[in-house]
């Protein structure tokens, strides 16, 4: 390089490149921003923003001043402290010299501040401050497990009772003073000493003392109360108190003012992680004790035991600990809201776990603590705490429990103690030759064993002269007696032992055959008096019979009532039958050979067997059905007929039972299907097409019997209310019959409004149609009571009458209905509810309904017609008449269906609430009548097809019926018109013939109604019609 440079010759001054300039600038900026500060002061250079060196502040030696080498500040010339006092006048910032000083300057100044000399720092505020600082420093130097300012603990939080505050404060300060500098004497202390205060005495006034005493007493009482061992506890608790407390307690032990409370300083370092002054055991001092015990017992084996014993107080609660997560303050909890799941959690297992886990945890803690201790105390200069200690917890396996160990301590009973001397069994000795003596000895031995030694003594005394009893006093046979006595005592012991150790042995107690039999309710076998040498077969049979007897339940067929003897005419056969029944139902052993029918041929026996089976089954059925009267005759017929063929053998009944069991099982799962309407929005959100789009909502399904019960009461009311309406209707019928048309039209105009409300109520159509002209009470609409009464009376007659006047089918139906009508019926509508066999009826009706509906659906043109009847009606009277005539032809068939509907709906009056519920929400029905009714009928047919259904289904059925009824009832608003019309057209007809036409009319008007939504319109329509009538009349 050097040689190269030498080769070149440079002329002039080189032009500084711009890049270099900028780089210098950059450098300056970088230096000024950060780098500069890291340099030592003498190396720092002040440069301007161009990076050039500048000199500033000649007096201060080159300090960089101002804002970017200006004199101003960032805000310009305005001094920072200036604030316009115009708006915030009151604000006045007090300035202090410290505000303007740097940290190092402050440090410099630190020594020059005025402060209280330690000499006069009587109560040690400054000293405490210094102490704390020092302690903090120490804290920093010494690593500690416990974070936070430890020295704060030195100053005991004494804010518990405000009344005592100052006293305690003073004392605590004193404590600190002593602690910090016990050698120096303060002026204040000197003064106090002069005033009579002695070291070791407390400064306090009597009032606070008394107050505190009371508190202390109370606490003590509480402690004594809450601990099971008061002695231990009081002493312990005293120790376990916070140190201030103990200190104070001791100090207040003397009631004399000058108590000798030597302020014993027990350092209570903060070892927990709770907040300052927080005492987790404030309200549960027992736990504090527990914790202390845990800490104090340094991981010894006594820990868990200790805990368990301590727990005795809380053992009741410890099994189940409350969840602890409570209720928000705003949540109110009524009794019904009580959380079923909240309290149920048992923490037993976790509790156990808790006992187990700390053992390891504790070990670790222990280690840590040890280490810490070593660090704190044994950390001699030049020594280091060994990272791994040789010391290890020695663990011993629990001694193995011998296998034959029974975890039950048995105490030797007093009886055994008494007879210890007999424990050594006397030698077995052959009995004496004299059998009498032998028996005597044995008897006495038994007695003595049972009654005790006293008996022996007494008998010895009594029978001293008697040579027979010489064995008692060491005569002949004494040895034998001793032996026997021992044996008997052993026996007695065995017996009494269980008594002694109570319930444990009761489990152990052996079941003898007899006791087991007793428990099971077996009869003991009769000991046959026969010689065992007699024929084996007979005993066999005997045994068998006994067995069958023993296995009986409760003699269901013990004595058959007369009715249940299907073979009365043949006693032998009856006997065989009974035997058969026994075999069949009582279980036990079954004789393979039927000895009773020994003389019968195989075929005959088989046939008889089948007969028996049938009879037995019939009887059983009869019993089950509790209709023995019905069941048995049929069974009799059954048997006497004798032509029955049985394909199944005798195994069948058994199978039946099994299948019954299966059926019981099979009952679940049970599947049911219902209609359910999802809301349109739900369908939309599920991205599905609403299956019920544009269709009317189905009526809500009743949920329980209770609901229906509640509603029925309502519906009963509704029924009562609707009575007058009905009568009104009737009255109009009559009026129309009387041809008092002008009046009726006038009335109907007013009536229209009335019916707006009443129209919704289900009208008992059955009554409406067939109510008689003879019902005069209906004339007066005000006399409602009367009407009702008469209604009741008339209704019974009406049913009969309706039977007469309706068509052939209706007649048969009426018969059916008539059968069920009880003579005294408060309301005809309830008659079917009251009958016993209502289920069957419903089924029957539904069956007839299906027939009927089929019949009905065969004539679609008739359905189609009424849909445009409205227009036809309006268009010209002649056309309407034609239609009418058409109606009449199909009327007889038509009314069949409707009649049934009516009867059915009246029958199901109990669910009339359905109508109410339904009608409360009148639905716009877009479909014309024909399609609507046909679909309804189809649905109905479906329903009635599954005729035997449970309640739900039935409700639903009636519901659909009720929809029909609703239609009719709503149609009844125009009924008077129709009846009027009818009366006009067929004035000379009998009512029977005119009924179908009214029916038809109703259909027509119904279709109209559907087109017009509101009932308001209906009324107007009726008005219109009445006008129309007038017009036609003219």
């Amino acid at each position: 390089m050097d040689s190269d440079e030498e080769d070149f010759v440079f002329y002039g001054t080189p032009i500084e490149r711009e890049e270099e300039l900028t780089s210098r600038k950059k450098k300056a900026i970088a230096e000024s921003s950060g780098q500069l500060r890291t340099l030592p002061a003498w190396k720092q250079e002040v440069r301007d923003e161009e990076g050039r060196r500048r000199f500033h502040g000649a007096f201060t030696g080159g300090y960089s001043a101002g804002y970017y080498n200006t004199v101003g500040s960032k805000e310009g010339w305005t001094p920072q402290t200036f604030r316009s006092s115009r708006k915030n006048r009151a604000e006045f910032k007090e300035q202090n010299i410290l505000n303007f000083l740097d940290e190092d300057e402050k440090a410099e100044l630190d020594g020059r501040f005025l402060g209280t000399s330690s000499q006069f720092d009587t109560f040690g505020f400054t000293a405490a401050e210094i102490a704390r600082k020092q302690a903090e420093k120490e804290q920093k130097q010494r690593p500690s497990v416990i974070p936070g300012p430890a020295p704060d603990e030195l100053i005991q939080p004494a804010t518990e009772s405000i009344g005592l505050y100052h006293v305690i404060l003073v004392e605590s300060w004193l404590k600190i003073i002593y602690f910090l500098s016990p050698s120096c004497y303060f002026v204040g202390v000197k003064l106090l000493l002069k005033m009579g205060w002695r070291r070791g005495r407390s400064i306090k006034d009597s009032h606070a003392d008394a107050l505190y005493d009371a508190r202390r007493q109370a606490r003590r009482a509480f402690l004594a109360f809450s601990s099971d061992d008061p002695k231990v506890n009081t002493s312990e608790s005293e120790q376990n108190k916070d140190d201030v407390e103990t200190f104070l307690e001791q100090s207040t032990n003397d009631d004399v003012q000058s108590s000798k409370s030597t302020p014993v300083f027990v350092l209570n370092p903060k070892q927990d992680l709770y907040g300052l002054g927080f005492d987790p055991y404030k309200h549960a001092p027992e736990f504090r004790e527990k914790k202390r015990s845990r800490l104090s017992s340094k991981g010894g084996p006594g820990y868990s035991k200790n805990m368990s014993t301590r727990n005795s107080l809380f053992s009741l609660k410890s099994g189940k600990s409350a969840p602890g997560f409570g209720i928000g303050a705003l949540e109110e909890l009524d009794a019904e809201d009580e959380d079923v799941y909240a309290t149920g959690f048992e923490f037993e297992d976790t509790y156990v776990q808790e006992v187990e886990e700390p053992s390891t945890l504790r070990l670790e803690n222990q280690k840590k603590k040890d280490q810490k201790d070593q660090k704190d105390h044994d950390n001699l200069p030049g020594f280091r705490v060994a990272s791994n200690t040789d010391y290890q917890m020695e663990r011993f396996e629990a001694p193995p429990i011998p296998k034959d160990f029974v975890p039950r301590h048995s105490f030797s009973g007093p009886l055994e103690i008494n007879h210890k001397n007999y424990d050594l069994p006397p030698p077995d000795i052959p009995p004496p030759e004299d059998s009498n003596l032998k028996i005597l000895i044995e008897g006495v031995a038994n007695l003595v064993a049972r009654c005790g030694k006293l008996y022996e003594d007494i008998s010895r005394e009594k029978n001293q002269s008697n040579p027979l009893f010489s064995f008692l006093s060491g005569g002949t046979g004494h040895d034998y007696y001793a032996r026997k006595l021992w044996e008997a005592q052993q026996k007695c012991k065995d017996k009494t032992k269980p008594l002694l150790d109570g319930k444990v042995s009761s489990d152990v107690k052996r079941l003898t055959a007899e006791s087991r039999g007793q428990i099971l309710g077996e009869k003991p076998l009769e000991r046959s008096l026969q010689d065992p040498s007699s024929s084996v077969a007979s005993t066999d049979v005997h045994l068998q019979f006994n067995l069958t007897d023993t296995f009986t339940k409760s003699e269901p067929f013990g004595e058959l009532p007369d009715v249940e003897k299907p073979f009365k005419h043949d006693p032998a056969k009856q006997e065989r039958f009974e035997q058969f029944l026994k075999d069949k139902y009582r279980g036990g052993l079954r004789s393979t050979k039927s000895s009773l029918a020994g003389d019968m041929s195989e075929a005959a026996r088989a046939r008889e067997r089948l007969d028996f089976e049938a009879a037995a089954e019939a009887i059983l059925k009869g019993k089950e059905g509790k209709e023995s009267n019905l069941g048995i005759p049929s069974s009799m017929d059954f048997i006497t007929g004798g032509l029955m063929q049985f394909t199944s053998g005798e195994a069948e009944p058994k199978k039946d039972l099994q299948s019954e069991d299966l059926a019981q099982k099979k009952k679940y799962p049970r599947r049911e299907e219902f209609q359910w309407r999802p809301s349109a929005l739900l369908c939309k959100r599920f991205d599905l097409i609403d299956p019920y789009m544009g269709k009317p909502a189905p009526a809500p399904r009743s949920r329980s019997k209770l609901d229906s019960l509640i509603f029925t009461s309502d519906s009963a009311k509704g029924a009562k209310i609707e009575e007058p309406v009905l009568s009104k209707n009737i009255s109009y019928v009559q009026q129309s019959a009387n041809q008092d048309i002008t009046k009726s039209t006038a009335e109907s105009e007013t009536e229209g409004d009335v019916e707006v409300e009443n129209i919704e109520r289900p009208v008992d159509l059955y009554k409406a149609i067939f109510s008689d002209d003879s019902d005069d009470g209906g004339e007066d609409p005000n006399n409602l009571e009367k009407v009702e009464n008469q209604e009741k009376k008339a209704e019974v007659a009406n049913t009969a009458l309706s039977r007469l006047i309706a068509g052939d089918f209706l007649e048969s139906l009426g018969k059916e209905l008539g059968l069920e009508v009880p003579p005294d019926m408060p309301y005809p509508s309830q008659k079917f509810r009251n009958t016993a066999s209502q289920e069957e009826n419903i089924n029957e009706h539904s069956r007839t309904n299906t027939l009927n509906v089929e019949h009905n659906s065969e004539m679609p043109p008739n359905h189609g017609l009424p849909s445009d009847q409205d227009t036809v009606y309006e268009g010209g009277p002649s056309k309407g008449d034609v239609i009418h005539a058409n109606m009449l032809e199909s009327g007889s068939t038509k009314i069949n269906a409707t009649g049934i509907y009516d009867s059915k709906s009246s029958k199901s009056n109990g669910e009339r609430y359905k109508n109410d519920m339904k009608i409360k929400s009148p639905l716009p029905r877009e479909q014309d009548h024909s399609s609507g009714s046909s679909s309804e009928e189809e649905r109905k047919r479906k329903r009635s097809g599954k005729s035997s259904r449970d309640k739900h289904e039935e409700y639903r059925k009636t519901k659909t019926l009720s929809t029909h009824r609703r239609d009719y009832s709503s149609g009844s608003s125009s009924e008077e018109e129709s009846s009027r019309k009818r009366s006009r057209h067929h004035r000379h007809r009998r009512r029977t013939e005119s009924d179908p036409s009214s029916e038809r009319d109703r259909h027509g008007s119904r279709s109209k109604e559907r087109k017009k939504g509101s009932s308001r319109e209906k009324s107007s329509r009726s008005r219109k019609h009445s006008k129309h009538h007038k017009h036609r009349r003219h």
Binding site: P323, G324, T350, Y668, L682, R685, F686, R703
Partner: protein, 299 residues
């Protein structure tokens, strides 16, 4: 799948709940799991790494069930405070609260499009709530149950509810029909098989019952565990080969689906195993217990 593949090895213990954990559920892809418990919090975990991610606090009382949308953006939860909370997962804020149940809410689910929340309540009703609109009223209340509804399951077209009245009711929105299968025993939990043909119903007589959905027949009964007083979960494994459920004695049971034999059982928790949830794809399972822990099991 052989027995060896069953998740029986404890991989992680998720600790954090202070009190009983009432439910733990995998999210849709199985990467995360959510738990809720008596400490009124919902917690989001990564069970595979054993990391606690987030805590959702707002419930006033215990949280009984939680469900997350398939896109992991929203949560719904329910519990003793009778409300359904609709959360934003990322921010941890409650977006909406659905009120209307008259009693505690036992279970809650999102539908497929996360537009509807269906909740099952102690007030014997199922309620569906609209997440799209701001209406406070439920879209529909299904109240045909005659006792507390304990669980709800949703398919694309159906709402299935299990109730203490012993019925499992399927509400088919497509055809507007309610199918009620009466099991005769209080139903605690229902779980769909992955092929969608069967329902597993956990009953309070310590029996799980497998129902054929199309016919309503009982296909199998699984017994052996104890479930008499707690609301315990049951589910099928991801391959539908086994049935699993927790027990009140802290055990987890695995049954063979077909022959109903107990294939495996082991003690998983110190206390009642309230909830089991199976990973949608892998052989992995999380279980929650009254002892406050959630454990992750793998093969």
């Amino acid at each position: 799948m052989s027995v060896e593949d069953l998740p029986r090895k404890e991989v992680n213990v998720l600790k954090g709940h202070e009190g009983a954990v009432l439910s733990a559920r995998f999210n849709a892809d199985g990467n995360y799991c959510l738990s809720c418990g008596k400490d009124r919090t919902i917690r989001l975990w990564n069970p595979h790494r054993g990391i606690h991610i987030k805590t959702y606090k707002s419930h006033g009382r215990e949280v009984r069930d939680v469900h997350v949308t398939s896109d992991n953006s929203k949560l719904c939860s329910c519990g003793g405070d009778r409300q359904i909370f609709y959360w934003d997962v990322a921010t941890g804020r409650v977006i909406r609260k659905f009120r209307g149940h008259d009693g505690e809410v036992n279970a809650v689910k999102f539908n497929e499009y996360s537009s509807v929340v269906v909740s099952a309540g102690y007030d014997q009703s199922l309620r569906s709530w609209d997440c799209r609109s701001h209406s406070t009223e439920p879209m529909q209340i299904i109240d045909t149950f005659s006792d507390s509804v304990m669980f709800v399951c949703l398919t694309n077209t159906e709402i299935i509810g299990g109730s203490d009245d012993g019925t499992v009711r399927t509400f088919d929105i497509r055809i507007g029909r309610e199918t009620s299968d009466n099991l005769g025993q209080p139903v605690n939990c229902i779980s769909m098989s992955n092929d969608g043909n069967c329902i597993l119903a956990g009953c309070l007589d310590s029996t799980l019952r497998l129902l054929d959905r199309s016919t309503g027949e009982s296909l199998q009964e699984y017994k052996g565990h104890t479930n008499k007083s707690f609301k315990l979960d049951c589910c099928l494994t991801n391959t539908d080969a086994h049935v699993t459920a927790g027990s009140e004695d802290g055990y987890i049971y695995f049954w063979d689906l077909v022959d109903a034999s107990v294939v495996s059982r082991f003690r998983a928790h110190n206390s009642v195993v309230t909830s089991v949830s199976y990973h949608p794809k892998e052989n992995c399972m999380v279980t929650a217990s009254v002892d406050g822990t959630i454990r992750v099991w793998k093969t």
